[in-house]
Symmetry: C2
Subunit: 257 residues, 2 copies
């Protein structure tokens, strides 16, 4: 029977989702847990591959279980064999036609970051640090240009061999969050703001969200005018877009089927 899992993990200590020789991956940890629970090896297929250091709030995955364990019980059984930075939040039986990657219709990523002169240890695990100046209104304007069906070639890291670089972005928005602690704004290293960039699309190219985040940072810093972002998409030149933002700020939020 095919089992669907919902998985949360802190990516800090992993080489990413996908198993790679000699490195510890989230997928390898899950396959080890499945082997421990069922006594048989089974490939755990994820909804997508997250890079080294990238997190997931609710990644979907599936595997085929040759076992008499009730589907709902895999959740607790697998957690007993997983390290504390990976948790299965739910498990259920799905149709054999369900495929975590190929059946996915929409994915949402969030990119969390904060603005301050000095890096802040309390935010280091799931936020990226950027230095002021950062103009929230300008950065918000930049987000609009990404929405729609575009060729995102300029927002793909070189080295990827994807031929079809057209993707549809359903939503791209930037929100200012309430600060996680009070005070300290008078400090030179105090917190100027905490933000979440949220992007929903039918799929993403290699490093696409991190390059979009890096481009939004440059708009916020006044280096790229917000109205130029549409031109950068149209030109399709990686060099015109912003830098690839750090992995630690990126979290796969959800996958819709």
């Amino acid at each position: 029977m095919r089992i669907k899992l919902i998985i949360q993990y802190l990516g800090t200590n992993y080489s990413g989702w996908q198993t790679q020789a000699g490195q510890d991956s989230v997928q390898a940890q899950l396959e080890r847990a499945v082997l421990a629970v069922t006594g048989k090896h089974s490939c755990v297929e994820g909804s997508g591959r997250t890079d080294a250091g990238v997190h997931a709030a609710a990644l979907a995955a599936h595997f085929d279980a040759d076992s008499r364990i009730p589907p709902e019980n895999f959740c607790l059984a697998l957690n007993a064999h997983l390290p504390s930075d990976i948790r299965v939040l739910d498990s259920c039986q799905v149709d054999e036609n369900f495929h975590a990657r190929f059946s996915a219709k929409r994915k949402t990523y969030i990119y969390n970051f904060y603005v301050s002169q000095i890096s802040l240890p309390l935010l280091s695990s799931t936020y990226a640090h950027i230095k002021p100046p950062f103009d929230f209104t300008l950065a918000q304007q930049a987000c609009k240009a990404f929405v729609g069906t575009h060729d995102f070639k300029a927002f793909m890291s070189t080295g990827s061999n994807k031929k079809d670089t057209v993707r549809t972005i359903f939503d791209c928005s930037l929100n200012k969050n309430s600060p996680p602690w009070r005070g300290g704004t008078e400090c030179r290293g105090g917190l100027n703001g905490v933000y979440t960039l949220r992007i929903t699309g039918n799929g993403f190219l290699y490093n696409m969200v991190r390059i979009i985040a890096g481009t939004v940072f440059e708009v916020g810093a006044g280096k790229i005018p917000p109205e130029k972002v549409a031109d950068i998409i149209a030109a399709g030149n990686r060099k015109q877009a912003g830098q690839t933002a750090p992995a630690c700020g990126l979290t796969l939020e959800s996958v819709e089927y």
Copy 2:
């Protein structure tokens, strides 16, 4: 000259603020950095001692510098010699009568926690995990009883030899935060709520905030009626109060002088 520092740290990897033989402390890291910058040993006196695993958003400290370095420059100079989980957010010269511990008038702690069936890796660094049920309204009612000048003997860990156990709590409130990610509430392990308990007082006994948090958890779980909290304070019996909540949820937010 006397230098005041504002320091943020993630306490996860330290035995606490205070230097202890054979263990790595935040104070020891700072004294090592002062030695590296000035060439002379100087004691770095903090506003209070945080326990192992407890964090600080803006702890105040002072040390006496025999150096020609301008006071404001200590901030960046010390950071160059500190690990990334400890940052000096500001530095300035203060009067020689200033003492980080004895001059402190009010301190504010925050206790962050989340409610879910399964522990959530993305919140593990600065939040404690509690399982449902948790009634927010009941827990909020419990907070009121702590405000005022009381003998907090029931909220001090045994082993402390403090004679004067009377403290004044100026404010104690519980807030529900917006969740750090969307969705997942339909999962068995999904997030039910994220909360911050904030307490301001003129001083705190050993483990006092963590025992107050543990008591608020038991009220939220329906194990202690909120109106009984005043009686628990009055009785002065440690056994009637809740358990000491985990260190990872506690953060010293600010110190007022």
